[in-house]
């Protein structure tokens, strides 16, 4: 059993938790290395339901340093990454009520906020930009969510984490590199000494393998 399976066993005990009623944040603020997906979802819901600043502080401690690292890997300088990480957390506060725990895990949702913030920044800086805000799944308001739906979404996020961990190291590496866009495919080809066509087919292969593992995990 990996760490992810462990989360769910441990979390079942507190599923009846209603984020609107308790001061949860104070009770879970422990080791920032150990924020489980379900805890993160609950904290986000506490921010949405009652503008819970303590819950937000826990999220900030966990995610801001990760966002900064993530944005740096996506090619930003330390100071811009710092800036966009803070901006992302501000958006997390503002948009918390749009978080739908039945649709995505907290890390996934925060990733999409960061992705769009990064695109906006690149666009403002006059560099190439990608996705348009026109279709932003994080902007869809949600209905009340059952604990069960929440687990399903958090489990999906976990399943993807597990699947990445199960990829052969070489494929996991290609997947990460192309996800971060830290290198373009031709740069990947150059640094790894593999012809471009081979790299493309390796990305395709890695995605196919990921798909297979995900199907097996379902």
């Amino acid at each position: 059993m990996n760490a992810s399976g462990h989360y769910f066993i441990a979390d079942k005990a507190i599923l009846a938790f209603d984020p609107a009623k308790t001061g949860l944040a104070m009770t879970v603020r422990a080791d920032q290395e150990l924020l489980s997906p379900l805890e993160a979802s609950r904290l986000l819901m506490a921010v949405a339901a009652k503008r819970d600043r303590a819950a937000f502080a826990v999220l900030f401690d966990f995610y801001a340093p990760r966002l900064k690292a993530f944005l740096r890997r996506s090619g930003m300088t330390a100071s811009v990454a710092e800036d966009v990480a803070q901006e992302t957390m501000l958006l997390v506060w503002k948009k918390a009520s749009y978080f739908d725990p039945a649709r995505a895990g907290a890390s996934t949702w925060i990733f999409t906020i960061a992705r769009n913030a990064r695109i906006d920044r690149l666009r403002r800086d006059g560099r190439s930009a990608a996705i348009t805000e026109a279709f932003d799944p994080s902007d869809v308001p949600d209905d009340p969510v059952s604990g069960e739906q929440m687990i399903i979404a958090a489990e999906r996020e976990e399943r993807v984490r597990t699947a990445i961990a199960q990829l052969p190291p070489e494929q996991a590496d290609i997947l990460k590199k192309s996800f971060f866009g830290e290198e373009t495919q031709s740069e990947i080809a150059y640094t790894s000494g593999i012809p471009l066509g081979t790299v493309k087919s390796r990305v395709r292969l890695a995605l196919g393998r990921l798909r297979q593992i995900l199907d097996d995990l379902k």
Partner: protein, 217 residues
């Protein structure tokens, strides 16, 4: 029944934010009506979530949380109406467009050749993206052509077919320079598509070649 979807790589690039704005909006139109691709994107976004969750954290500046909280305080104190969003002009082109395009500008239909009209789609944040709507009358055969770079064509209404198959409403045709084809619009009605090309250089593909003179290429 949707038969033609974007490739996994395209959905992956859509999810990680590296697909260009023009192709992204065409893919978004497809995804808005395709549960399978929507769920695939959810998975690729979860790859992002997972990488974010597991990345080695890098310390943020001291006082970062306090600064963000201070901004929040200011915002909450002065909660007012957000500035009204600038609306781009939208011509009535006689078809109900997907909601995803609500913020886009839509130009009037313009004639570019016998039986073919086009309308320019302007993205709210990026007016340089090459996105267009195309309307082709029933039964028309388009000139044989190849593509330069990837071209994304999503069918909104009607259908066309070529040697590779039939493309009806909801289908997305992702064609690269390996594809040489001669699409024919079906006899029972006009076909309306939204299309975009990768890159901002040349429009020489499916419909692009017809349009290129208008862009001064």
């Amino acid at each position: 029944m949707i038969k033609h979807h974007p490739s996994d790589e395209t959905l992956f690039r859509y999810a990680n934010g590296s697909l260009e704005p023009g192709p992204s909006i065409v893919v978004a139109v497809h995804v808005g009506g395709c549960a399978a691709c929507c769920s695939r994107i959810g998975e690729y976004e979860a790859v992002g979530g997972s990488l974010l969750h597991d990345i080695e954290p890098e310390p943020v500046e001291t006082g970062a949380l306090d600064r963000v909280m201070a901004v929040i305080d200011v915002n909450e104190a002065g909660r007012g109406a957000a500035a009204p969003r600038h609306r781009l002009p939208r011509a009535d082109i006689g078809i109900r467009l997907p909601q995803v395009l609500d913020d886009c500008g839509i130009g009037p239909w313009r004639w570019i050749g016998p039986g073919v009209r086009w309308s320019r789609v302007t993205l709210p944040d990026d007016d340089s993206a090459n996105v267009m709507l195309l309307k082709v009358t029933a039964g028309r055969r388009l000139p044989e052509h190849t593509h330069v770079g990837l071209e994304y064509t999503h069918v909104l209404k009607g259908a066309f077919h070529d040697a590779r198959g039939r493309y009806g409403p909801g289908d997305l045709d992702e064609a690269d320079d390996d594809v040489q084809h001669q699409p024919i619009v079906e006899e029972d009605g006009e076909c309306i598509c939204i299309a975009a090309v990768e890159g901002r250089t040349k429009l020489r593909g499916f419909f692009g070649r017809l349009i290129q003179p208008l862009f001064g290429g």
